[in-house]
Symmetry: C2
Subunit: 116 residues, 2 copies
């Protein structure tokens, strides 16, 4: 069987004068949602804690509502989670990228020979 | 009215060991189709004729069927045109990119305030 054709999709959303969202920030958001912590998310991406905070700060000023909320103290060590908007943007961005990838893969396989 | 949010989509298709198709090659194909000539297409993109030929050569060896065919002599000065496969790939690549762009623009406007 021939190797599966590869498709790379890179999507950047630019909000005039406010900043942008691309694959890096989306991955950071996704990891924050998974790990419940900005530092753990950063570590999982080999990103510095400082850089991750910088990106979260940018993301939280893109629109009127923040995409990430942090909490400290209480019985747990504090952490971070996505807001409803943060989760919505992450999910929809990934869904769009996934649909494009699938469409491109179908396009490629449609004109490649069946066997190698 | 606030400025329309910008969306940039970059799609690269990689055919294992054979080469790849990205926005540059797709634009070249589109221009060849429009101008009926590789040199005119290259000129319209500020690309050297040599480079355009190189890319056409790559494109024509991606799959068993060429994407561009050239003809010389006769009553006209010769030229180039897309094969059915070349046109199909160009159209479908652009349709996929366009659909993604529209979906992303809708995503952006859905969470931006209505007025500035």
């Amino acid at each position: 069987m021939p190797e599966q054709p590869k498709v790379r999709i890179w999507i950047k959303l630019e909000l005039a004068g406010k900043g942008e969202i691309g694959p890096g920030k989306i991955t950071l958001l996704r990891r924050i949602g998974e790990h419940g912590s900005i530092s753990a998310a950063a570590r999982s991406m080999d990103m510095s804690y400082r850089r991750a905070w910088q990106l979260v700060n940018e993301l939280n000023h893109l629109v009127d509502v923040p995409l990430v909320e942090t909490h400290v103290g209480g019985s747990s060590r504090g952490g971070a989670r996505l807001t409803v908007l943060g989760k919505c943007i992450t999910d929809r961005y990934e869904a769009i990228a996934q649909r494009s990838t699938t469409a491109c893969r179908e396009l490629l396989t449609s004109f490649l020979p069946d066997d190698d």
